[in-house]
């Protein structure tokens, strides 16, 4: 099992969700987050004073999948989230030791 954590543009969340569903992901967690990478913040104006807001809003999508699904899922996210401009986001893949379905107590891949 692996966890894919994808930080993407909020405007691409729907596309990423559909892409993940199409490769067989049966659930996911989405969080509104703020941060910055190479895309610097944006400018805001209040009574003529300019402020640079460092942290830009992003969406974090977390999904845990079986090992063999991961390469396709990463591909699907990249395709769905890419606009080609700085700020498209990052994808991190980490190993997951265990998964438990709370309702039934099932463990491992079947719990996903």
């Amino acid at each position: 099992m692996k966890k894919i954590e994808a930080i993407v543009r909020p405007s691409r969340v729907d596309e990423v969700k559909e892409a993940l569903a199409s490769v067989g992901a049966s659930g996911m967690t989405v969080t509104e987050v703020k941060g910055f990478g190479r895309q610097k913040g944006h400018k805001e104006l209040y009574r003529g004073a300019e402020y640079v807001v460092d942290f830009v809003p992003k969406a974090r999508i977390e999904v845990v999948l079986t090992d063999e699904m991961v390469p396709q899922a990463v591909e699907a996210i990249v395709r769905a989230a890419r606009t080609g401009k700085v700020g498209d986001g990052k994808i991190f893949v980490t190993p997951v030791e265990e998964a438990v379905r709370v309702r039934t107590g099932e463990r491992g891949d079947v719990a996903l």
């Binding site: 104006l45 209040y46 003529g48 402020y51």
Partner: protein
């Protein structure tokens, strides 16, 4: 002789001016502060209305409008507790409405003025200090100043200074005092390195709209009759606000690249401030010019604080101080007897002396407000202390001064953080597991 139309109009206008303070100004300011201070800011407007209303009834009205005690500096205590202020008109002020109605209309002006100052020391003053400051300011600054300009014995009134609806008494005095407050109380922690952004601009825009709406009561009501003069004031008020909003929007667009909602709303308020002293004395063409100039001037005025490094949190100096000064001077330029025979002619209508009189009124207002505000602040600081502690300021005034939180978390997890400490004791038995099992 009471005129029912005049009476009804001025009563409605009194209510409109009340609406400017709460919720108008409260929302205008409340949206501009950070989330942790919104309730404290709203409450300041509400509380000052309460304090000043009582003060006004007890002795404030008498000090401001009571029979003059010589010199034209202050009214006496002849009308203490509103003794002698009743249903009969007082011809010296308004011959066609009950004296009580004139007093009520003026009460709402007395209330909004200290509420305006609060924008300068927003987000850092202790609530106790705020209450004491507002009360002392109302008694020591507003009451005498209203007497100077508006009472029949006031020296600026006798001098012929034109202030139709309170440009000097309300806006210049609050703007001047705001500057003194910002300097004495000091900057908010982190200012200007940490951006302190408005937490809810829709609230601010709503407040600006209510201010504009209420301002018809403030300005057109100052005619104290339902007349052509009131209609003219209504017209110039709306025209100047619209023109100033456009002025601010366009200058910001040109210099900063984007027109903004906060800027346009601020421009409207700047125009309303500037037209206030002039509204009953100038025509609509002058109102367009006064408004447009005020919008541009106050846009610039809001940059003074960054230049000089004082923290006038919500730009009371930039909008009310500068707008009020400009309006008072502009009245001396554009006033025209053809609009209001009871007014005067300004420089552009052949009377340069009026400009001088207006300048005297400006100087006198600043000379009264600045030192007295300084003294009041020092007194409050020495007694109850002006500033919230650093920790209280960081945690926010809502929590530290009032133990309240404006916006509870919408998530279901938020509820679990809230333990009902005081009520938990009373209902404790019900919450035990045995009780639930039973």
């Amino acid at each position: 002789m009471i005129d029912k139309g005049d009476t009804a109009w001025v009563m409605v206008c009194s209510a409109l001016v009340l609406m400017m303070t709460i919720p108008g100004l409260a929302l205008f300011y409340g949206g501009m502060v950070r989330q942790k201070n919104v309730l404290a800011t709203l409450l300041q407007s509400l509380a000052v209305l309460c304090v000043v209303s009582i003060q006004w009834v007890l002795f404030g009205y008498s000090l401001a409008f009571g029979p003059d005690k010589g010199l034209g500096i202050i009214g006496g205590l002849d009308w203490i507790g509103l003794r002698g202020v009743g249903p009969a008109p007082y011809a010296g002020y308004a011959a066609t409405i009950p004296h009580t109605v004139f007093m009520l209309f003026q009460m709402m002006f007395a209330a909004i003025t200290p509420a305006l100052i609060a924008g300068a020391f927003a987000e850092r003053m202790k609530f106790s200090a705020f209450l004491l400051f507002s009360l002392l300011w109302a008694v020591l600054v507003y009451d005498p100043l209203a007497h100077w300009v508006w009472s029949e014995g006031g020296f600026l009134h006798k001098l012929g200074a034109l202030d139709f609806a309170g440009g000097t008494v309300v806006h210049l005095s609050s703007g001047t005092s705001a500057l003194v407050c910002a300097l004495v109380i000091g900057r908010r922690k982190g200012y200007p390195r940490t951006p302190m952004l408005p937490h809810n601009l829709p609230m601010t825009i709503m407040g600006a709209g209510l201010l504009w709406f209420g301002w018809f009561g403030f300005n057109a009501g100052s005619a104290l009759e339902a007349s052509g003069i009131a209609a003219n004031a209504f017209l110039t008020t709306n025209t100047a606000a619209a023109s100033a909003a456009m002025g601010w929007m366009l200058i910001e667009w040109k210099l900063r690249g984007k027109p903004t909602a906060l800027g346009t709303a601020s421009g409207a308020v700047a125009g309303l401030v500037a037209i206030t002293p002039a509204c009953g004395y100038v025509g609509p063409m002058a109102a367009i010019l006064i408004g447009f100039a005020a919008g541009i001037l106050c846009f610039g005025g809001c940059h003074l604080k960054t230049k000089f490094g004082y923290d006038d949190a919500l730009d009371v100096v930039g909008v009310h101080g500068l707008g009020g000064t400009f309006g008072a001077i502009a009245t001396g330029l554009f006033a025209w007897k053809a609009i209001n025979a009871g007014g005067g002619d300004g420089l552009f209508h052949g009377n340069a002396a009026q400009l001088g009189t207006q300048a005297i009124a400006v100087v006198a207002t600043i000379a009264l407000s600045a030192p007295l505000t300084y003294g009041i602040l020092k007194l409050v600081d020495a007694t109850v202390g002006l500033r919230a502690s650093e920790e209280d300021e960081v945690n926010g005034l809502d929590l530290s001064q009032h133990s309240e939180n404006a916006y509870q978390s919408g998530s279901s997890m938020g509820e679990h953080r809230v333990a009902m400490v005081s009520e938990a004791k009373a209902v404790e038995p019900v919450l035990t597991s045995e009780a639930i099992a039973r």
